[in-house]
Symmetry: C2
Subunit: 141 residues, 2 copies
Amino acid sequence: MINVDDKIQELKERCAKANMRLTPQRIEVLKMIAGVNTHPDAETVYAEVKKVMPSISLDTVYRTLTSLEDLGLVFKVDNELAKTRYDADLTPHCHFICVKCGAVHDVHINDYIKAPDESYDYGEVLQTNLQVKGICNKCRG
Amino acid sequence: MINVDDKIQELKERCAKANMRLTPQRIEVLKMIAGVNTHPDAETVYAEVKKVMPSISLDTVYRTLTSLEDLGLVFKVDNELAKTRYDADLTPHCHFICVKCGAVHDVHINDYIKAPDESYDYGEVLQTNLQVKGICNKCRG
DNA sequence: TTATTATTAGTAATAATTACTAATAAGGAA
DNA sequence: TTCCTTATTAGTAATTATTACTAATAATAA
């Protein structure tokens, strides 16, 4: 599990560097995502943060998630489900995604490569795929 | 590139087995996806199929894509973009996704593992991630 | 403390996808 | 082939995740 305090410290530094304000909304949203391993969607983040900050709006959560992504503190977990899921753990790792309930679990790549069948206990594997993301040559000009 | 005729043949067999009707809409939609390597979204499939079948509706395209997926003839390419992209090539392979324009290119896994930097010429890599999809233990009961 | 302006709350708008209904046509039976 | 049954379709309305807009608020620097 990642260290939430370290994460908030990083938020402070990156906001300062990017000339962005360190708002309690940003702190709470990041704290929430970094504190769980469930890879929550925007609505879930909203519901959780609302408990400690009842005035926060859904719009702010969406905007904040985008800001945190721009700052390189969280990223979107690719999935074919309806809702976008977020992860604050930036160390290289993979995900097991249940296509039925949408649960997202971390998978440790080295263990998985060594013994895909025994390395974890998440469920029945239907498909494994590798995504490489970047900027294509056309877009680089 | 996959053989479109073989793909249509498979559609016939699977429809028969699944008690689903072999409609011209299903044939045209599958033909379109199988005939390109651009991993089109629903709207693009709609626009293309409309050229040869002007009466087709967008709703039918969406339903047909789901049917073809259920039949195991196409699958959704995971991406964090707004629109879902489809692929009819079921042989194990990976994708390079441009986070700027949304272009999706095929990447051949063995080449990529051997020499990630030289194996292809799609663009600048920002992130590589592996997704494992399946049914989690909870959902299996 | 004050001023500047990025950020927020609240709400409206957008866009992808799904649901609904009457009409149509695929495919089996006669 | 022709007729029937009912899955499927076209057209449109509804839904749902996400984004945009605006006036009010509050984080930072002077």
